[in-house]
């Protein structure tokens, strides 16, 4: 113990005596460890933190996989029946489907998030209401009572936390629902909801028999793998029974498994976060290599001291420990500073990602993050300390003591080690820079992708008319016309229109209209929008053929539709679609026009889409669609669109105060949100790559600076032999160039092997994009040469006389 304290004291003194070295090493480590701690906090909060439910590891979601990819289609009510009957490994099984409601109270309408759920829903979560009861099978049947369980916040807001709320009613879409329970504070289902009601009443209504998510709680003693095997074994009979619409080959390829609930919640974020975590790990590795290199150089300078210690009886292990103590101590201080970096870095990181990361509210520097930092610091200290420590312990006593002080230099072996470390740094940096370059190109590609409309000076806001006084298409349409009239009267408004079933750049509704293909009617799944005639003018979408909708396309007129160019290409090939027809339910819709494509997502091709006039849309369909996708008002303005936000909301309220309004945004904000994840990914990757580049540059600079010091005499000789200053410059920069080039070659090979992990995150650029590889390599080479230039310049100032006196 005494010797350890002695080692620590000596290490502290040594670090204090070399403030320059200590500061550079600490800063390097603080950045490396800090970035890792911040990223770990995100990974922990999103991917690893246990879900806030009892025994969360028992919660699963039944998921389908088709040819290695998750099956996106939800389950049907019949599918849920199947799994209710085949539930051996499960204690409870439940289904849910999202639905929004208009909640009217206190004179103003409000849109709330609801989930329709089966009776065992809360049992799967293992959470019971704090007031009242959960659903029972008798609640969940066709013609059953309209009952609801409230979340804690809704109960507080609407019933002031009154325990007598149970038994009272709330008006949802104009229908009174009896409150039967209140869930505890902090409980959030997935997806989150303000209230829950029963699922069975919508089983047979259009569409609601689909899009079920099925969750279950595994029985005690049954593992997740066993549950998965059970589901896997039933995949074929289940698919045959429930996926008749799939091709036979696909049905055979379809398999089901018990996806851990934690995995399901964060599945979209998993790969990007792991990529970023790997990237930040690379940064730490580079930091370690940097500090190791500094230590190797410094240990070489301490050769005589260490040899003397050996001569005085210090064993190999003792010297090893002495040097390792110093590096671990350095890492500990670096870790402590890293926590400060992580603390501020985490705020920055989260500010980049508002509403992008799932469970973001759980991200923070907690005990796990502290343990991670401590562990990383210890590991880092050993990692970067081990090479110099062995180098120190292996110092030949006699030879070193015989060397003059000025000759203490890195042996060939050590120089090779040092050079190899710099190559590794350059290689790791290149991999990160290429990853970042690919993501930047993706982002630029997305930014330059034409969304199909002009997003500037466009205001959007959402409204919900479910449960309102408008009980028919003409009544609803009259309301929409009134809203349009009032909005258009606002100074600064150029045009206003209304679209139901989905806004551009957001996921909307798809339906299966009948199209005659190869002489027979098929029902492809295509996007569906209900619009007013002003829609294409307001968005700035071109009319490519035929005509736009008109006021004459009224409810009583013959049914018409427009399709987009992609629809025409896909289903009408070379034929002119105008004049042809689609079928929807039992209606025949004549195609009167073809409009330009509008994207639902910038990184996907525009989907085939068909439009119907809101004046002719089925009232039932419209109301049903609003359960998932609100109706939006689009306002083209001559001024900053957000400056008209209040006036437009007031106009809607003037038209009807009981219609809830939500999500008032400019279309540029919608665009920004649609790119938020890519922006976060690109920004973080760029920060990490920039850090890596900086550290690599510092590494090259450090090694060459040291090399110049070591080679002072050699440079003196060369100058004496007639080398010009530019010869010396070339000598040192050339050394840097060779190191960088070797690193680049290894880095390119590494990047070629690793960038395919980014494939799913890229758009418009291939993982082995030659332009990115070449441009990034050249940029890195330029930085490396710049880093080499400073010590090279110093080398040219070597005084040959002084250098040659170093004998």
């Amino acid at each position: 113990m005494n010797t350890l304290i002695q080692d620590v004291k000596y290490a502290l003194r040594t670090l204090g005596r070399n403030p320059g070295f200590t500061a550079v090493a600490l800063l390097t480590l603080a950045l490396g460890i800090g970035a890792n701690t911040a990223m770990f906090s995100v990974v922990y909060g999103v991917l690893l933190r246990p879900l806030p439910y009892p025994e969360p590891e028992s919660m699963i979601e039944i998921s389908g996989i088709l040819r290695g990819r998750p099956l996106e289609a939800g389950f049907t009510a019949n599918a849920f029946d199947y799994w209710k009957q085949h539930r051996d490994p499960f204690e409870s099984v439940a289904a849910s489907v999202g639905q929004g409601f208009n909640l009217v109270g206190a004179g103003r309408a409000e849109r709330i998030r609801a989930l329709r759920v089966s009776p065992q829903f809360f049992q799967v979560f293992g959470v019971r209401p704090i007031l009242g009861r959960e659903f029972i099978p008798d609640d969940d049947r066709a013609g059953g009572p309209d009952v609801a369980v409230l979340n804690y916040s809704l109960w507080r807001e609407h019933f002031n936390g009154d325990s007598s709320a149970v038994g009272r009613s709330v008006s949802l879409d104009g229908v009174p629902y009896t409150v039967i329970g209140v869930m505890p504070q902090g409980f959030a289902s997935n997806p989150p909801a303000d209230l829950w009601t029963t699922i069975e009443p919508v089983r047979d209504s259009m569409g609601s028999g689909m899009n079920y998510e099925i969750i279950a709680r595994i029985r005690p003693g049954v593992s997740q793998q066993q549950a998965s095997s059970y589901l896997g074994a039933l995949s074929q009979p289940f698919a045959e029974e429930n996926y008749s619409w799939l091709k036979a080959g696909d049905r055979k390829a379809l398999s089901f498994w018990a996806a851990p609930f934690r995995y399901v919640i964060s599945s979209d974020a998993r790969q990007p976060l792991l990529v970023l975590f790997a990237a930040v790990g690379f940064v730490l590795l580079i930091a370690c290599v940097n500090v190791a290199n500094l230590l190797v150089a410094r240990t070489a300078g301490r050769g005589r001291e260490l040899a003397l210690r050996s001569a005085l009886g210090a064993g190999r292990a003792r010297i090893l420990r002495q040097v390792l103590t110093e590096s671990v101590l350095l890492a500990a201080f670096g870790g402590a500073l890293g926590l400060l970096v992580a603390y501020s870095g985490l705020d920055y990181l989260l500010s980049l990602a508002p509403d992008v990361l799932p469970r973001a509210e759980h991200i923070g520097l907690n005990t796990w993050a502290l343990l991670f930092t401590a562990g990383t610091a210890l590991l880092t200290g050993i990692l970067f300390g081990i090479a110099p420590a062995f180098q120190a312990a292996g110092t030949g006593v006699n030879e070193t003591l015989k060397e003059s002080e000025g000759r203490a230099s890195l042996s060939l072996h050590r120089r090779k080690l040092s050079a190899a470390m710099v190559c590794a740094e350059v290689a790791l940096s290149l991999i990160l820079l290429i990853g970042s370059g690919l993501l930047i190109r993706t982002f630029i590609g997305l930014l330059s992708t034409d969304p199909g409309f002009n997003p500037r000076n466009l205001l959007t806001l959402q409204i919900w008319t479910t449960g309102s006084k408008y009980d028919s298409t003409p009544a609803l349409h009259a309301f929409y016309q009134e809203v349009q009239r009032r909005v258009q009267a606002i100074p600064g408004v150029q045009s206003a229109s209304i679209v139901a079933a989905g806004l551009p750049l957001e996921r909307g509704i798809n339906l299966n209209p009948g199209v005659v293909l190869n002489g027979r009617v098929e029902n492809p799944s295509v996007d569906y929008r209900e619009i007013t005639p002003d829609y294409i003018q307001t968005l700035g979408v071109p009319l490519l053929a035929g005509r736009n909708f008109q006021l004459a396309d009224s409810f009583d007129a013959s049914k018409v539709t427009m399709i987009n160019a992609e629809f025409a290409r896909e289903y009408f090939k070379d034929q002119n679609p105008v004049g042809k027809s689609l079928t929807l339910d039992k209606d025949q819709l004549e195609i009167v026009g073809v409009v330009g494509d509008v994207r639902s997502s910038l990184n996907e091709p525009p989907p085939p889409t068909f439009f119907v006039p809101l004046a002719q849309a089925s009232f039932k369909t419209d109301q049903f669609l609003q359960a998932w996708s609100p109706t939006s008002i689009l306002v083209r303005t001559a001024v900053n669109p957000l400056s008209l936000s209040h006036a437009v909301q007031a106009a809607v309220r003037d038209a009807d105060p009981n219609i809830p309004i939500g999500h008032v945004r400019s279309m540029e904000e919608v665009l920004a949100v649609s790119l938020a994840f890519q922006r976060l990914l690109m920004a973080l990757m760029s920060v990490f790559a920039g850090l890596a580049l900086l550290l690599a540059a510092v590494g090259i600079y450090g090694v060459l600076s040291y090399a110049v010091r070591q080679r002072t005499r050699e440079i003196g000789i060369r100058l004496a032999m007639g080398a010009q200053r530019h010869d010396v410059l070339r000598l040192v920069v050339g050394q840097g160039f060779r190191l960088a080039l070797a690193g680049l070659i290894i880095g390119v090979a590494g990047a070629l092997a690793l960038t395919h992990y980014l494939s799913s995150l890229l758009f418009g650029v291939k993982p082995n994009d030659p332009l990115t590889f070449v441009a990034v390599s050249l940029a890195l080479l330029a930085v490396a040469l710049l880093a080499a230039y400073v010590p090279a310049l110093r080398a040219t100032k070597v005084d040959p006389i002084t250098a040659l006196r170093h004998e």
Binding site: E714, I717, R718, G722, A723, I801, E807
Partner: protein, 245 residues
């Protein structure tokens, strides 16, 4: 040996620049300024070195021998005075020109050999020629000749660390003569050698001189000073005595 001149303007016939004079130093002084201390390393040196001459500079430690050699080798410049080489004044030359002249006109032999450890014997000898931009084939020939001349052509691929001190100094001599310089400056060339190797190196220098090389050697060993035709003795930065063999 007979004493001849002291540190003063040369007597007619022994100084000034004429066809036989390679180097002419005229009142060269060197003062080092460190903090507030002025150190007069050389105080008015008047010296001629003729083509083909073998000159030795001797004197006690700190007398200015190495400073004088540095100035002669264009590694340093005088604080005052004139330095003429091959009838060309050198005081006003740029660093680049001084380097070029050093490369072409001067060959160095150091006490500590000063070979570059990472370069082979061949590469070390080739070094001055590479800075001259000489074509590869000519360089090869010159290096081969120089190494043969010093009896080291069988060690071309060796590194300095693999050679004895005497061998290293012979390589250094080869490096000094490979560029066919006007003068070879040797700074205590036997200082790091045992007597046997020291003798061998001195024999080598004498042979080179007999073949026409001009050599200026700093030494404090009287045995080796006698190899030279003429010896100038320095004391406190002045030439206090000059003797001829």
């Amino acid at each position: 040996m007979e004493p001849t001149t002291q540190s003063k303007p040369p007597a007619p016939g022994n100084g000034g620049t004429n066809g036989h004079t390679l180097i002419h130093l005229d009142g060269v002084t060197k003062v080092f300024f460190t903090d507030e201390v002025e150190t007069h390393a050389l105080s008015g040196i008047y010296l001629d070195i003729r083509r083909g001459e073998y000159l030795s500079i001797s004197g006690p430690s700190g007398c200015g021998k190495s400073t004088l050699l540095s100035i002669l080798g264009l590694l340093d410049s005088p604080t005052d005075g004139k330095y003429t080489l091959n009838e060309s004044p050198l005081e006003a030359l740029s660093i680049s020109d001084r380097t070029r002249i050093r490369n072409r006109e001067i060959g160095f032999i150091f006490q500590a050999f000063n070979l570059i450890g990472d370069l082979t014997v061949y590469e070390n000898v080739e070094l001055p020629l590479t800075y001259r931009g000489m074509p590869g084939s000519e360089r090869r020939q010159r290096v081969q000749e120089a190494l043969e001349r010093v009896g080291m052509s069988h060690r071309v691929k060796h590194y300095p660390a693999q050679l004895s001190g005497g061998q290293q100094q012979r390589v250094a001599v080869a490096r000094a003569l490979v560029g066919k310089p006007s003068i070879m400056l040797a700074d205590e060339p036997t200082g790091n050698l045992d007597s046997k190797n020291g003798e061998a190196v001195m024999e080598l220098l004498r042979d080179l001189h007999r073949e026409g090389a001009t050599i200026c050697m700093v030494t404090h060993d009287p045995r080796y000073a006698d190899f030279a035709e003429r010896t100038v003795h320095l004391f406190d930065g002045r030439i206090v005595e000059e003797t001829r063999a």
